[in-house]
Symmetry: C2
Subunit: 207 residues, 2 copies
């Protein structure tokens, strides 16, 4: 189980959501063809993605919905919960963290931090926003897995350096800054500007 492509992982996450829908719809088994149709992939792609981790299907029948989603959850590491902190409790950050589904999917938001006195002390989703300065002592006593960064870009790298020292293992970066971290820390960027500019390019090249 050596080298798994990022794109495969992202599709697994998608399949998982579709499997949950199939399960709710009362389906017991599902074919690669059916998963493909709903996910935008091809059936060969679905089968290859899944076969990288074992063979879960029954030939002539398809994949058992329940078992397969359990297995994907396991592959993605979703049986265990993950602790998450929010750094930057502005509009975007609080909107993100307020989302239902979040906790439902095993991502537990255990802290929210901001540097602005006007935001410190506010309640977000049952949490009191604390000062950035509290991060060090808080995480020193209770390490967290994931940090969501929605600060201004200029301060992001400084904060991330501290988080890395404090043992944070993954970062979801909503700033436009490219973060520098050691290989042992995973980073995913979500960048509105890039998405919009990619759409702009697409518009200019449409028939």
């Amino acid at each position: 189980m050596s080298k798994i492509a990022e794109s495969t992982i992202r599709r697994l996450s998608l399949y998982l959501r579709l499997l949950e829908e199939f399960e709710i719809a009362g389906e017991d088994t599902v074919s690669s063809e059916a998963l493909a149709a709903k996910s935008g992939a091809t059936s060969a792609q679905v089968r290859k993605d899944l076969s990288l981790f074992g063979s879960f299907g029954k030939r002539g029948l398809g994949y058992p919905v329940r078992d397969l989603s359990a297995r994907i959850r396991q592959i993605l590491g979703l049986q265990r919960h993950h602790s998450v902190i929010l750094v930057g409790a502005g509009l975007l950050g609080t909107a993100l963290v307020r989302n239902r589904g979040f906790t439902e999917r095993g991502f537990d938001v255990v802290g929210a931090y901001d540097s602005s006195p006007t935001r410190i002390g506010r309640r977000v989703n049952g949490l009191v926003v604390k000062s950035d300065d509290d991060i060090d002592t808080d995480l020193a006593s209770t390490p967290v897995d994931i940090a969501i960064i929605t600060t201004p870009g200029e301060v992001a790298q400084g904060i991330v350096d501290r988080l890395v020292k404090l043992g944070v293992r993954a970062i979801l970066n909503f700033t436009a800054t490219k973060l520098v971290v050691p290989d042992s820390v995973a980073v995913k960027d979500v960048n509105m500007a890039i998405e919009l500019e990619a759409l702009s390019f697409a518009i200019g090249h449409q028939t």
Copy 2:
């Protein structure tokens, strides 16, 4: 200028932001090496990306910062402004649209819509939130380029079908639903759940 990879476009968008920083820093020229360092790409990658659109550099010197950013802006179609509407004026949608930078980069938010009476009539960033029902008449008289969808997933496809009929050319989809649109419409998905689950996988596979 036939087949340009999506990944190339996303990097161009990144380079553009870096070039703007170099310009502010007063640099006249920049090497592919310098762009590579700040963008996380390799210098060969930077040169290949740029060479797909022409040759802008001077051998032995590098790329002229001003000219190159102008050219990238042109490639991405950013000389023209794009009109944008927001559909779904909840916390996330309003947070997104409130962002500075947005208008700065030529994406003009010209309308915000929601189905909930509690949100209709509110002001967001100088715009009054209107009813979803107004979309048809509004866009029939004034077409828009891009729609940002932050509605609940269940209603997204229905709205998108209407938007497509009304001539919307690109969609930025924040719901977890996979949207079905004709080839003539571009869609980019931004999906928190996928990002978090990809991070979860990465955490499980770290040294």
